[in-house]
Symmetry: C2
Subunit: 339 residues, 2 copies
Amino acid sequence: MIIDCHGHYTTTPANVGAWRDAQIAAIGGDAPTPPDAEYPVTDDEVRASIEGGQLRVQRERGIDVTLFSPRASWMGHHVGDARTSLDWTIRQNDLVKRVCDLFPGRFVPVAQLPQSPGAPIDQSVAELRRCVDELGFVACNVNPDPTGGYWTGPDLSDRYWWPLWEAMQELDVPGMLHVSQAENPFFQTTGSYYLSADTTFFVQALSSGFMVDQPGLRLVIPHGGGAIPFHWGRFQGMSVREKWDFEAATERIFFDTCVYHQPGIDLLLDVVPTDRVLFGSEMLGAVRGDNPTTGSGWDDTGRYLEAAGLSAEQRAEVYEGNVRRVYPRLARYLSGAAL
Amino acid sequence: MIIDCHGHYTTTPANVGAWRDAQIAAIGGDAPTPPDAEYPVTDDEVRASIEGGQLRVQRERGIDVTLFSPRASWMGHHVGDARTSLDWTIRQNDLVKRVCDLFPGRFVPVAQLPQSPGAPIDQSVAELRRCVDELGFVACNVNPDPTGGYWTGPDLSDRYWWPLWEAMQELDVPGMLHVSQAENPFFQTTGSYYLSADTTFFVQALSSGFMVDQPGLRLVIPHGGGAIPFHWGRFQGMSVREKWDFEAATERIFFDTCVYHQPGIDLLLDVVPTDRVLFGSEMLGAVRGDNPTTGSGWDDTGRYLEAAGLSAEQRAEVYEGNVRRVYPRLARYLSGAAL
């Protein structure tokens, strides 16, 4: 079985974006929140957006199931205030739940959190509980820089995050550390911002060792861990000098395989212990289309994995075993008995 | 011949740091600038700091010459104002010049620039001219984020930088894009900040294509280019979708070999055209000490290069040919006829 741990609903029907535009336009006005109604999106529209998109690609590539969350670049935690973020997040999570209900066994829901810069994390904890307890979500995306590229909030070791870490452990759900759109124009969202964020959050975990105090917490760093595997030696060497406990600080950090060329995947699998690598492709994401040299999709990461020097057993770990272990709530979906 | 393109004076005698501390302590006071005198540092102290440090390692590793600039993490462009930065920079450049004069042929000077957030770039242009024209410097370090990790200045494509690009082309000197200490506590200086910066500046060059308008400009990205080579496929794929001209935008961007493990160096040499890779080790830098598994220095990058699958000709390019081509003013130092 092939489980893609990293998919976002990037192909939403037009009315979803229109609702968000209206919400943003209303910020600061007399009617700060848009109508409470659900998105005016029909099941047929949702079906069409998936059948022609992610489901088609799943079938083409032999991917059985995708962990599916709201579009990351649209989370926009820096937009408006905590209420703005909550209104939007609830709808986005409910929409992802609809996709998963319409395609049982194919997509499994992962939550966006209603974070907002400077706001307490409690609202995110409450929405996580709603998603997991009431809707059957199996994980969440955590944005450690809700400022959108100004990097001025509390770092991952700060007590600010503790209620969230505790809830995640109690609910037994992991979190993918994933930023959203870069509000700071110094960064390009899916290139420099995403990869800088991935790198930075790993280093926060490494240098602070905060995960040692959260013994059931499991975090996933997307995009192959940003710069980290390429500089594995740098961080091991720095750890000696800085007296960081590399192993204890990072043993529950996992990397997806969203690295879009063979040498990158080969390096990832070479340096990172195989039990910490999770299959992911982020299709349809920032890098759609085919590599003209190979004729295959840039984000068809299964091809790189097949060509890498793994044993069949190791490959099965990356495709399935590791993902099941990191996302235990996924099991009920895979047995055909969805919530 | 082996030329290390990336070395900083990290082993300065104690009075250098003391001078800087006094300067910082005086900021905002009645006497905002410290005494105009040179550092109270003797030639013997300078000799000792190098002989027991960088020169010893050069000899151990067979490195013939190092391009040598002031300590990067100490540039501290965010500290004080433009005058603070200028006072400090002049002294640091003069000190590096002393090192190079004391060890002719072994160290070749590269300038720090007196940048300051919000200040015009003219002061940096003037100091660059002084260093190149009067002191024989062959290159400079450019800090594209003088805010120290708040990333709020003009990006590389901004007209702000043009006077500097023009002077660099006129003087025929390249620039290494190197940030300094992270003032923003969200970042760890030599880990997340350096690598995020390297990644971000490459993406600014790629997405803006600004170097096309600066046809003689050559830029070096340190630390193996941050996350870029590991995600080479990502950026090639994004370039197709975003209509960036990958080749034209980045053909005069060079990467050093400051990647401290074999798989990283192998990947770097695999994906980046060999004529864009420059030997560098950044000794003695952030990652001192030996890898307990191999018994060799983490930053002994020559060992990785020797073990990589390069032809003798390609290895000579990386060790010498490419560096000579990118730093044409270096030639006079290598012929034994220093300025």
